[in-house]
Structure formats: structure tokens, C-alpha cells
Symmetry: C2
Subunit: 335 residues, 2 copies
């Protein structure tokens, strides 16, 4: 990352929603190292990714504010006086979104409207970076999927994340509140939730590997995905924050396409042991299987100069090592 | 319309949400003439389009149920036992959606989820036709706009209508609840709200003409739009309802492109008098001006055999005549 990003963020007042979660806490570590004044907002919903251990080592250098983005008045207060908001809080579980569409709607849409409305009324000079998701594309019409690909989400979560993203772009276009959206693909790395498997498969695979358990590969593992190490995602978030060229724009992230089977074999190799077994898709998962997916990230390369820098092997080694050391901190059995 | 549509709908139990409004009531007249058992749900929100006079002549042949789509339990009860639901209720004012984004979100998204959830639990065999809007395309990237055009709405209402539409398609794909969505363009005709100008310009122009007032043309009237007479929209709704080829599909409606200035001149000619004046865009309207818009309706022509049949001249004559006769019934000053 260019030095000038550090210079631009040093001393700035920064709010991170979802700040005790996976990506939010990795971002917090980086922001602290750059000398920013960081406030982390997290609701600590038990089933979600917030974990106090995620800020181990920086706990005295950040402000933690426990609050839910659905709490309209608290959020309206907390957005004031910030130079940047990294708006990462979300309901991210596909499965939970199907079982309880209203909660997903409240968090991923209504709360986004209230954060944006609060900025409109109290902090129009702020810059917001929003984390969206490749899930909103649904089953790809073509590969790699660029930002011109139609959004036809195949789950509630994808619809709501799309709406939340469009609200950010709208508030830039109509009210000049600078905002950018990154459509994240499968992100992995330290500090990800592993206490259950409802928030994605990579961290769950990592846990199985570290615990010496057999990995189940739905559909055999031939499906292709792309992966970003969280450090690369943090790079993209920072670039989007300081660049005016990002205002009002939507960017895919993305990485090298790899089959799930190859990913798991790489993990087993790195770990020096492990096993997997192909299993049929459960009917409910089959119904919403999207086949292969990988994104085209040419736009963010051209506009912001971002490329993923962490090779999958290095990133997986880093991740497996992290959970080897810290797994118990992530096994809270509350949910 | 083909005779077989009448045969398929005769005797069927049909629910129309927004049934006392503009399109809902025109649909109701048609459904009654086809021999369907029609229940109309309307909330009679004062600023919206519901008007008891809209069912003048069929009031003894339909069931009217006053209820709001936000009323989850009532809706869950009302969807039961229906063969078809025409899901037309919505907050349709762009201006109101900007001033009160939460109400728009409640009506156009959350209520749609609860209607669909109710169908999933109580009436999975129903067929739903949803009315969406060309507004979700925002400012066109190209003309004519087909269904492959990206949705980048420039207002709250467009975002929420898009989400509501995507929910209908999702519930078909995941739960087999048959649903289709029509993206309506500018619809005009008898029974449209004219008591204020916040729900679109055509009906407002008609009122000015009938009242002998000068029409104000923002930006000079060079903007191109396409228009559908409500009878043609009713045709499309019925075709989508009885056709399995429509399940899970999204269709543009559309018509011949005409400039607003030409439209107004035609109206003045038909009326035998009237006047207009070009005025500059107010700044807030300029910001969200989409320039020219007209839709490509090839898909619905190919799949369902729909084409608009009412020439603009005939449709406008019909409309002006209707309001000449009935204007006082539409001038309730409550809002």
C-alpha cells in the first residue's frame, strides 16, 4: 500500500461498523498501525462474527462501542464527527437470511438507510466505504463476472445487500455523500468466525483441518471460486476510502479461480495432513447452487490500482497457523 | 385478448392488492367481466390512489377488504384460498419516497416479503403477478432499454421496487411459488389519481387540460418517454397470470416513444384547447432527471404475445373524456 494512504488516514476519525468482526477487526489493526483514531461499533450478536479477541493487541488503542446498527439513535450519534466510515456490519449468513428474512432486511437494508440518513443530516462531509458481496450476482450468466453483470440474487441476503449497496450509491448521487461499494468475494484469513458453518465454508474448512476432522465437500468440490486474503481486502477498503475516483462507484474484488477440491488439497498439504470426502448436495443447498463463480476485478485495478497480492498458499498458511494458535478463542459455544 | 384467458379466469378466486387504485380497479373491471371472484384489498391511505369511485358499476360484484399490505396478519389470512394474486399495492411516489424512505421500504419491500412468506406457508399453489417499474433502470445506458439493462435506480422508490421484484422471482426459484413481474412504464387512463401531482405527470397534465389550466413542462418537454394505456397494461397482467412461460420472469412493458411536448400538444388538440409553458427544472428534479427513456418490450411480445394495442390518440381521448365527466370524483382534497 502506498505511503500516502497512511499519511491521509493518520489522525483521522474513523468509524468501523462490524468492527469486532472478521474484516472489521483486521481493518482496525491496519488503521491503528497507520495512526488513525478508530472507533469500532459492534452489536456482539452471539451468532455473528464479533469477537473481543479479534482486537487483541490493540484494545488500548481503539474505542469499542457496543451498539447495533438497527439502533437508529445511537448510530445517528456515532456517525457524527467522523472523517471516514467503513460500513461493514451486516447479517452475512445465507441460511439465517432464509430462515428469518425480516432480520436480514432490518440489518442489511433499513439500518443502511438510517446510517445514510444520519450522515445526510449530521455529517455530509464523511466518506463511506460499504462492503457488498458477489452473492448479489446469483448464478453467473458468464465468467469472469464483471460489474456489468446483472444482479439476480438467489437468496434473501443477496437481495438485501444489493439494496443496501444501491442506497449508498444513491446518497452519493443525490446528496453528495461520498460513498463507494466493494463487492467482496470469498474472503479468508485470521479472525474469521469458525464457531458454526453458517457464514461460509472456508473458515469452516480451516477449523476442520486444524481439529483433524474430515472435510465434507458438497457436490464433490469441482465448483470453482475465487478467494481473497483479508489483508488484500483491507488494502482495497483503504484505497477506496482515500480515492475520490471511487466515489459513487461499485467495484468487484476477486482472485485466481480455484476449485474447492484444489483448495482443500492445498490446505491438507500445508497442514501436513487431513482428509476430505465428497458428499451429495443436500436438496436445499442444491437448489441455490450457483455452479462456478469468479469475478473480474479489472475495474478496481484500473481505477484504484488494486490487485490481490497474497498467494493462496501463503494466505492459507497464515490462516491455518493463526487458528492452530488461537482456535479456542473462536470456539465460544453460545450459538 | 384471447378467449381462453377468460375461460381460465372465470370462477377463479382472485386477490388484487391496491385494488381500489388506478391499475387495480381497471383490472377489477376486466376480471369481473370475465366472471372471476374478485377481492380487492386497499388501505385507502389518503395520499395514495385508492378511490371507491373507481369500482363504480361493479361495487356489487366484488368484495372490498380495507387493509394495508403492512398488516402482516391480515394479509396472511387474505392470501389463503386464492388462485391468483395481482400484487399491485405500492408506494409509488418518487417524492414521497425521498421524504420518507422508511415508509417506502415498509410497503415496497417488507410487506412484499410478508405476502410471499404467507403464500409459502399457506398457499404455495397461488400464481402472483407483481407490478414493478421502469424506474429501477435509472438513467438509461442505452435505448431502448431491455431487461438486460443494469438496474441503477436514482431514487429510493426504484431501489425498493427492485428489491420487491427480486423477492418475487426468488420465491419462485426457491419455493416454486409461481410469480412474474411486469416492469411498467408510464401508464395512463381512466381512474388514475389526479388530486396531487406526486404520482406522475400524465394524469396531472390531463387534469390541467380538463380544468383549462396551463401545463408546466419541466426542462422544455423535449424528453422522450413511452406510454401505455391502462387497458393494455391489464392485458399484460392477465397474460402473465395464466401463462406458465411467465413464471420466474421479468418483462418490460413499453410503447411508442414520444416527447412530452408532443404528448401535450396531442392532448391540447384532442381537447380542442389548452396551453403549456416550458419551465426550467427545479434543482431537486434536475438532479434526478433521467433524460430520455423508452423500453424494449420484445421479450413479452415473444414470450406472451403482448403488444400495446391502444394508439396514444385514442387512449388520450378516452382519458380526457373520462375526467371531463368524472373529475369531481377525483378531487377529494384530503391530501
Amino acid at each position: 500500500m502506498a505511503d500516502n494512504i497512511g499519511a491521509q488516514l493518520a489522525g483521522k476519525n474513523i468509524l468501523v461498523t462490524g468492527g469486532l468482526g472478521f474484516i472489521g477487526s483486521n481493518l482496525a489493526h491496519r488503521l491503528v498501525s497507520l495512526g488513525a483514531n478508530v472507533t469500532l461499533v459492534d452489536s456482539m450478536v452471539p451468532a455473528y462474527g464479533g469477537n473481543p479477541f479479534n482486537i487483541h493487541g490493540i484494545e488500548d488503542r481503539v474505542t469499542v462501542n457496543i451498539a447495533d446498527v438497527r439502533d437508529e439513535y445511537s448510530m445517528a450519534y456515532l456517525v457524527q464527527g467522523r472523517d471516514y466510515i467503513f460500513n461493514l456490519a451486516g447479517q452475512v449468513s445465507h441460511i439465517d437470511s432464509v430462515e428469518d428474512p425480516y432480520t436480514d432486511l432490518e440489518i442489511n437494508v433499513r439500518s443502511q438507510v438510517s446510517i445514510l440518513e444520519a450522515c445526510r443530516k449530521k455529517n455530509r462531509a464523511v466518506k463511506i466505504v460499504y462492503t457488498s458481496t458477489r452473492q448479489l450476482y446469483g448464478k453467473p450468466d458468464y465468467l469472469p463476472v464483471d460489474e456489468k453483470h446483472l444482479a439476480h440474487p438467489i437468496d434473501t441476503n443477496g437481495i438485501n445487500k444489493l439494496a443496501g449497496e444501491l442506497y449508498h450509491i444513491l446518497y452519493y448521487n443525490v446528496y453528495d455523500i461520498r460513498a463507494a461499494s466493494l463487492r467482496l468475494t470469498n474472503t479468508y484469513g485470521p479472525r474469521q468466525l469458525v464457531k458454526h458453518s453458517r457464514q461460509g465454508f472456508i473458515a469452516w474448512f480451516v477449523r476442520q483441518i486444524v481439529e483433524g476432522k474430515e472435510i465434507q465437500l458438497f457436490g464433490g468440490g469441482g465448483q470453482i471460486r475465487d478467494f481473497n486474503h483479508v489483508d488484500d481486502v483491507v488494502d482495497a477498503l483503504l484505497l477506496a476510502s482515500v480515492s475520490d475516483a471511487a466515489n459513487g462507484e461499485i467495484f468487484n474484488l476477486g482472485g485466481e479461480p480455484v476449485s474447492l477440491k484444489s483448495l482443500v488439497e492445498l490446505m491438507i498439504e500445508i497442514n501436513g495432513g487431513g482428509s476430505y470426502r465428497p458428499v451429495p448436495f443436500p436438496p436445499d443447498k442444491k437448489r441455490i447452487d450457483i455452479g462456478d463463480f469468479y469475478g473480474d476485478f479489472t475495474k478496481i485495478t484500473n481505477v484504484l490500482g488494486w490487485k490481490p497480492k497474497t498467494p493462496l498458499r501463503d494466505g492459507m498458511l497464515d490462516t491455518i497457523n493463526y487458528y492452530r494458535e488461537n482456535l479456542p478463542k473462536y470456539l465460544d459455544t453460545e450459538s
